[in-house]
Amino acid sequence: MKITPLNQIHRQLGARMVDFGGWDMPVQYSGVIAEHMAVRTTAGLFDVSHMGEIEVSGAQAFEFLQYATTNDLANLTDGQVQYTALCYETGGVVDDLTLYRFAADRYLLCVNASNSDKDFAWLQDLQKNTDFSDLALINRSDEYAQLALQGPVAANILAKLTSTDLSAIKFYRFKEGMVAGIETIISRTGYTGEDGFELYCAAADGAALWQELMKVGESLGLLPIGLGARDTLRLEKAYALYGHEITAEIMPIEARLAWITKLKKGNFVGRDAMLKAKQAGLSRKLIALTLTTSGVPRDGYPVLSGGRQVGYVTSGTMSPSLRKGIALALVETTVAESDEPLQIGIRKRQVLAERTALPFVK
C-alpha cells in the first residue's frame, strides 16, 4: 500500500487507518463528528498528500490545457487557481481537478489520488494523438506533500508561521512563500466550504510543516482531520466527489458542473458529445435531498417516486451540522423538475426526502 510522508505521524496520533484507493490513510482521529465540527467552528488539518500533481509546461501548455479541460483558461492570471475537469470524448469525466497557473506557459494540475496515474497516462495519450509538440508533462505526485488547513481560524493559525500577507491571497488564488521556514505553495482553496488553505511543500518537509501547524494551532482549537470528516464536510457543501457525482458515465453538465464546462470556449475533449446531449435534452439531473425523518441515505440507495425507481443516491450521509440525513442523487430530469414527492429506499423502508436548495449548509 502507498503511504504519504505523514504516515508515521498519523499512527502516533492513534488515527484509524484505512485503505483508500491503495493509500494507507487516516479515516478518523478523535471521531468524525468532533472533527467535522472543529472545521466548521475553529480549524482542522488534513493530510492530503495522496493527491496527485501533474506539471504542464511549454509554449503550447495553454493551448493544450484549453483543449484537454472543460473550463476556460482564457481569463486566468498568474497566481490563480481554477476548478475544472478532464473529460472523455463521450463527455464522461476522467477526473476533476484544480489547475494552478504559475505562468502563461507553466501550470500545475492537482488531481485525485486514485486517478493520478490514469490522468497522467490520459494526458500523455492526448498529447501523442494531437499535434501539441512544444509541451512537457511531468508527474510530480511523489515530490509533494500537501496539507489542507481549513476553518474559520485557519488564517490566524497560518499567519503565525509566515510573513506572507495572507489577506492578499484571495479565494482561489495562491502565492509561493515560506511557512515555518519551509518553501510552500500557499493556496486559498479547499474542499470543506470554510475559509482555509491548501499548502504544498516538498515531500521531505511535509511532516515538519504538519508539526509546526499543530503546535501553533492547538490553542486555537486546531484538530487533525481524517477522510471521514473530509467527506461529510464536502457533502454538506454539495461538492462533487469523483466516483460518485461524476464518473466516466456521468457528464459534468448532468452533475451541476455546467459552471466549469464552457461549451462556448471552442473545441475541447468531450464538447461534441455534451452539445449533442444538451440539444437532445439531458435525461438526468443531480439534485439534493434531505430526509424528513431519521435515517442515513447512502450511495447506491434507490430514489423512488410513486413506487417507481427514478434515480439513485450518488453520495449520502448524516450531516453533523444539520443532524439530518442528506443526499445528492442523480434522477430523471422530468422528476427532478417536478414537485412529485420523492422517497429514498433504505433497506425495507421508503423514507420521504425533500428537495433541498444547495448547499445543504450555507
Binding site: 479515516v27 478518523q28 471521531g31 468524525v32 471521514g228 431519521s294 435515517g295 450521509t317 448524516m318 433497506r347
Partner: protein
C-alpha cells in the same frame, strides 16, 4: 478496554446480561469504538420473535451500516425506546444507557454457546 465480568459475549461483539429467563442485549465497547460516531439505530418491535444468529437491528455510524445479530432465540419483551433519538448512547454508555433489547429466552440452554469475559477478551485481541 472495559468488558464487564458479569456479561456474556458473542463473536459479533454483542453483550448479553442474563436475568432468569430474560436477557438484555447490546453491543460491546469494542464494537462501538470500531464503528465510531453512531448516528442511527433500528430496533425490532416488542413481540417480534427472533431467531438465533439472525439480524434483529441495524446500527449506523457516519461511515458505515452494521447489522446486529440476535445472540439467542426468543421473544422481544422490551426495546430501548430512547435509542432512536439518542443513538450516541451506544458510544457513551454501551453497557448501560445503550442497552438495545430484552429477549425472553426460548431455550435457556443456548447460553452455553456464549463467551465469558476471558474468552471474549482473547477473541478481541485476535480479531
Amino acid at each position: 478496554m472495559d468488558f464487564p465480568e458479569e456479561l456474556k459475549y458473542t463473536e459479533d461483539h454483542e453483550w448479553v446480561l442474563v436475568e432468569n429467563d430474560v436477557v438484555t442485549v447490546g453491543i460491546t465497547n469494542f464494537a462501538q469504538d470500531q464503528l465510531g460516531d453512531i448516528v442511527f439505530v433500528e430496533l425490532p418491535e416488542v413481540g417480534d420473535m427472533l431467531e438465533e444468529g439472525k439480524t434483529f437491528g441495524v446500527v449506523e455510524s457516519v461511515k458505515a451500516v452494521s447489522d446486529v445479530y440476535a445472540p439467542v432465540a426468543g421473544e422481544v419483551v422490551e426495546v430501548n425506546e430512547v435509542l432512536p433519538d439518542e443513538p450516541e448512547a451506544l458510544n457513551n454508555s454501551p453497557y448501560e444507557a445503550g442497552w438495545m433489547i430484552k429477549i425472553k429466552l426460548a431455550d435457556p440452554a443456548v447460553l452455553d454457546g456464549l463467551m465469558n469475559v476471558t474468552a471474549y477478551k482473547e477473541f478481541v485481541e485476535k480479531d
